[in-house]
Symmetry: C2
Subunit: 148 residues, 2 copies
């Protein structure tokens, strides 16, 4: 009411897509691989890093995660044998982790294509990328580095 109908309608539509889309992809990924979206993000980042290992701080910046979130997640993943912590805050991908991310990649990319890539035209995809970049730029301009 206070906001323009355009803004409100777009926001509501976006909110619904966000919840349903990520819920579905998360569900499919978890069912068929036992990995969560958070697991997948970490393993994906590690896999395509040189030597399959990165500093914690690189993960934090690359994924834009809060530090305590990363710490908890890495602890859980180390307990499951997906990663190893080396001195110097270095994170190594284990063989088990490499195996699981390889199995999960197809499932994840198929789900993204099925519910996202195949549904939208090339113009829509680039439009969404532009929209996202603008919003992200707005968000990161006010919060330089703090608030982490």
């Amino acid at each position: 009411m206070t906001t323009t109908p355009d803004v409100s309608a777009a926001w509501q539509a976006y909110q619904r897509m966000r919840m349903l889309l990520n819920g579905q992809i998360n569900r499919e990924l978890g069912r068929s691989t036992g990995l969560s979206e958070a697991d997948y993000d970490i393993l994906f980042f590690l896999e395509q890093s040189q030597d399959s290992s990165v500093r914690s701080i690189a993960l934090r910046c690359g994924l834009a995660w809060e530090k305590s979130r990363l710490s908890h997640q890495l602890r859980r993943m180390e307990q499951r044998g997906l990663i190893e912590k080396a001195p110097g805050a270095v994170i190594h991908l284990t063989d088990k982790g490499r195996e699981q991310i390889a199995a999960a990649r197809d499932c994840h990319e198929a789900a993204v294509r099925r519910y996202f890539g195949d549904v939208l035209s090339a113009e829509q995809l680039t439009a969404l990328a532009t929209i996202s970049d603008q919003v992200v730029a707005r968000l990161t301009q006010d919060l330089p580095h703090h608030a982490h």
Copy 2:
């Protein structure tokens, strides 16, 4: 790699926007009102319902939530005095709840406008709404009613 660069780039940009945008709005809402996004959704739905009360099933369908999520959320909100459960699975908005949603509405709408509505053009807003509707339609066509 397997996916088209367009799809992958759009997906990554969207993922980043999703995390940062909802994180920021959630944070601002929580800091200044003590309500979470989930609280806000419930209270908002209740406030604009006739008699400030709805059946649980209406909430579940209207918000597209899983039933256990709704149950847990309603239990927590009743403990805080924001809502009341009446026989027949009817949920009432309490005075305290009405007061809090009124205070939170401005904050929430301002945040949505600041980080979302003001950043995008009218064309972008309608394009995003269309995109969202298409994706949601794709998601709900395969899963008729089950899986809830």
